[in-house]
């Protein structure tokens, strides 16, 4: 497997773990008759180009880091979720009213007013943010160390990175899509192994609690199931 440039050693270790998990999955799949996901390094993107993928890998790894208790965005394969969402009718805003004229500079509380769809916002904003990182921190985002990556994301979240009005929602899209990928059903490519549900204690698609309304202040004991019937 090839390392993405600029990943510090801890990240290499964790990525290695994720890849190891994937390889184990492949080994087990002969018996389980289930298809194990390819490692993130071998994943063929559906929408993101190479530089965008490197950015999404690096950014989501800081938004939901791997250190500490609980899974991070990398182990839960959030980048795969984002790539697939941007390739889907969400990325192309098929359900949204996109007719002009557009007033992208309207007050934010007027809602989505850019002529761009979410996939286009990612495509146009990532190079701008990377260039800002280059100017401000001396390297593109993915090449920065964790401390500088966090500082850059903080600047992005505070509106300190100059973005054209058409892409000003990039930060909120990135953060919300990352959390969606962390918590959504695994069929969308993220939340691998339902790890985030196990971590917080959400039973996923169980959706049957008839005897539980009257069990007050008692922790629900069962782990999650997914829509496809996986258990964890």
């Amino acid at each position: 497997m090839t390392d993405l440039p600029g990943y510090p050693s801890r990240r290499n270790f964790l990525k290695g773990s994720a890849a190891g998990f994937a390889l184990t999955g492949i080994a087990a799949s002969a018996e389980a008759q289930t298809e194990a996901p390819v490692s993130l390094d071998e994943y063929q993107t559906e929408y993101l180009n190479e530089a965008e993928w490197a950015f999404i890998m690096a950014a989501t790894a800081r938004l939901i880091p791997s250190e500490g208790d609980g899974p991070g965005a990398i182990e839960t394969r959030v980048p795969v979720f984002i790539d697939r969402q941007l390739a889907s009718d969400y990325g192309t805003a098929d359900d949204w009213y996109m007719e002009g004229p557009h007033d992208a500079d309207a007050e934010p509380n007027r809602g989505w007013q850019t002529p761009l769809n979410p996939a286009e916002v990612y495509r146009q904003a990532i190079p701008v943010f990377d260039a800002w990182c280059q100017d401000t921190h001396g390297a593109g985002f993915a090449e920065l160390d964790e401390e500088r990556q966090d500082a850059a994301l903080t600047s992005l979240s505070n509106g300190d990175v100059a973005l054209a009005p058409e892409v000003r929602d990039f930060w909120s899209l990135l953060l919300s899509n990352t959390k969606e990928g962390y918590f959504a059903d695994p069929q969308y490519g993220g939340n691998a192994g339902m790890q985030s549900w196990v971590y917080i204690g959400f039973p996923g698609a169980r959706a049957a609690y008839r005897e539980w309304p009257e069990r007050h202040n008692i922790e629900y004991p069962l782990g999650p199931v997914s829509i496809s019937g996986e258990r964890a």
């Binding site: 969400y90 009213y97 918590f183 959504a184 922790e219 629900y220 019937g229």
Partner: protein
């Protein structure tokens, strides 16, 4: 015009709650009926089946059960000084789509209005004088009273299958119910649900402060149940997927569970999906409608459907839009002169709440249903001294788990980082260890808040979009701040580790992005005469006597409750008038 269909006795525009009610009640009269539904067909099986329905991303976040703005939307501005911009992606409100409409994806919160809310202007004037009504507030009396509607509220509750405990049976206050509600002629069709941990805690704290908590009424079955049409419901298992979802187990009250299976048995009823009504057509004399023109998505052509009676039963926003496009419902309202009626008194809902965090207690937030909880009405419209408090309005409060889905319902203490290691620690520490109390408040009518046609933006058929002019007003914001001042001490009495409030305050501007509520009301309001509204007390258009307009667009101002109970009651009141007064002698009924 590519095609004209054979004439029908009745054409129904929109097959949600009120279209289904009109369909089955008029089918019983033997009338030949067609319902036209803009969206797709859907039913419990296969559309809402387990497990595919238990998908927060698809239905909760990407809102795949809802109207697609690419097909239909509107523009929004806060005042006449702003340029309206399209509501491009759904946020603040979520109109439904497809058979069943919003009745499939609601929470099941079924309430009746208070009697005082239906004669609000008189109630205010009699008790405090006309002078306390602020300039620009355009509240009125409904042209129909609570007493007249009571049998129809009861009828809707039996059909919909509502669970609860009466607080006022024929004027006698009942232990365990809401002592401040309007009278009921009968007990609820199903018993009240058992309280979850959070609602029980809330109820105990409220009782200790001398308030009067009761179990919220719910369009969620608490037992097995068969309604007057023979439709069957099964008891809810608290799966936690109500709002934005179809119910997979026949427990949530909906057109599918309560009416449509019975309605489809009538050979004199048919419905066509993917059939979007574009315009109501008018006879040359201007006194009646001749039918509707719709877009047949499958055939990709316009179709004229002639009919003797037009039932306009789509969502409130779409009803008003169709009336604006068709020249039905009277002259368009002008907020500057106060002249005109169509588009008048658009109203919404003023909500707030308190969140409480208990690190060592476990709430299992995924165990619940949309109408779960203990409520109280101690700060309701008929309990507040408007003169002393300085506002007109009120709210009901409720606490009960309804949705622990983690993308949208990750309640965290303020100050928790939005991302990074601190966020990840926070979600583990607090998920399942918090509860909330909501205040669901009234929204008055104002000259500023109205609906008309947009001058710039058009839909895929080339029709102008509707334009909403709406902003929060001081009166309702003061009401909300009063609820905050009363709710915080109650929340504090429960000794949470942390608590935080979310109530809009002075100067709040309407923000279309976060979900607030799909309780859009008014625009084709009921009135005692054609100078004040678009329809009469039977929801009959003043200017076209064979057009009956259903839904929350009839609301003179919004109540403090979720609208479905009043929508259902008005629908049965209207179809009763059609059956008993109109069919034998079609004419203006007032």
């Amino acid at each position: 015009m590519a095609r004209t269909e054979p004439k029908k006795d009745v054409v129904i525009v929109g097959l949600g709650w009120t279209g289904s009610i009109a369909g089955i009640e008029l089918a019983q009269e033997g009338l030949d009926i067609v319902a036209l539904e803009r969206g797709h067909d859907q039913n419990t099986v296969p559309n809402f089946e387990y497990p595919q329905q238990i998908d927060e991303l698809k239905y909760g976040v990407r809102v795949k059960m809802m109207q697609k703005p690419s097909q239909q939307t509107l523009t929004v501005r806060r005042s006449g000084d702003e340029t309206a911009l399209p509501y491009r992606s759904l946020g603040s409100f979520l109109p439904g789509n497809g058979v069943g409409g919003a009745g499939t994806h609601w929470n099941g919160l079924n309430w009746r209005p208070m009697p005082e809310e239906l004669r609000l202007r008189s109630y205010v004037t009699e008790n405090w004088g006309e002078d306390i009504i602020p300039e620009g507030m355009t509240i009125g009396d409904y042209p129909v009273s609570y007493d007249e509607l009571e049998p129809f509220f009861t009828q809707f509750e039996k059909v919909a299958g509502i669970a609860g405990k009466a607080g006022n049976l024929n004027g006698e206050i009942q232990e365990g119910g809401n002592p401040f509600e309007g009278w009921r002629s009968e007990e609820f069709p199903m018993p009240a649900h058992k309280p979850t941990f959070d609602s029980a805690k809330f109820g105990e704290a409220a009782s200790a402060m001398g308030y009067h908590p009761f179990t919220a009424s719910a369009g969620i079955a608490s037992t097995s149940y068969t309604n007057p049409y023979g439709m069957q419901m099964g008891p809810c298992n608290f799966c936690g997927f109500c709002e934005r979802f179809g119910c997979y187990q026949y427990s949530k009250s909906s057109p599918q569970t309560a009416i449509l299976g019975a309605l489809k048995q009538y050979p004199n009823f048919e419905y066509r999906t993917n059939s979007e009504v574009l315009k109501i057509e008018t006879a040359p004399d201007g006194q009646t409608a001749t039918g509707v023109t719709y877009w047949d998505e499958e055939a990709q052509e316009e179709v004229f459907q002639p009919a003797d009676i037009v039932i306009l039963s789509s969502y409130q926003l779409n009803n008003v839009h169709l009336m604006l496009l068709s020249g039905i419902g009277g002259p368009v309202y002008d907020p500057v002169t106060g002249e005109g009626v169509l588009g008048k008194n658009y109203a919404y809902q003023m909500n707030g709440g308190v969140s409480m965090f208990f690190e060592d207690e476990q709430f299992n937030p995924f165990v619940g249903h949309g109408a779960n909880g203990i409520a109280l009405d101690d700060f309701a419209i008929n309990q507040n001294d408007f003169g002393a408090l300085g506002f007109i309005g009120g709210s009901y409060w409720r606490s009960g788990t309804f949705n622990g889905q983690p993308i949208r319902s990750m309640r965290l203490p303020s100050g928790t980082p939005a991302w990074g290691a601190g966020w990840k620690e926070g979600i583990k520490k607090w998920y399942g260890h918090s509860m909330s109390i909501g205040s669901h408040g009234s929204h008055m009518a104002y000259a500023n808040n109205h609906l008309d046609l947009d001058p710039t933006y058009t839909d895929r058929h080339g029709r102008p979009l509707m334009r909403m002019t709406f902003n929060w007003q001081d009166n309702d914001l003061r009401m909300n701040q009063y609820m905050k001042s009363k709710m915080e001490p109650l929340a504090a009495s429960m000794n949470p580790d942390l608590m935080q409030s979310g109530f809009k305050g002075p100067g709040a501007q309407y923000d279309v992005r976060p979900y607030q509520t799909t309780h859009n009301t008014g625009g084709h309001i009921m009135s005692t005469n054609a100078r004040e509204g678009s329809v009469n007390r039977y929801s009959q258009a003043w200017d076209k006597h064979n057009v009956f307009v259903m839904g929350a667009g009839n609301f003179v101002q919004n109540t403090q409750y979720n609208p479905t109970g009043l929508v259902g009651g008005l629908a049965y009141h209207t179809v009763n008038a059609i059956r008993t007064q109109y069919l034998s002698n079609p004419r203006p009924l007032v």
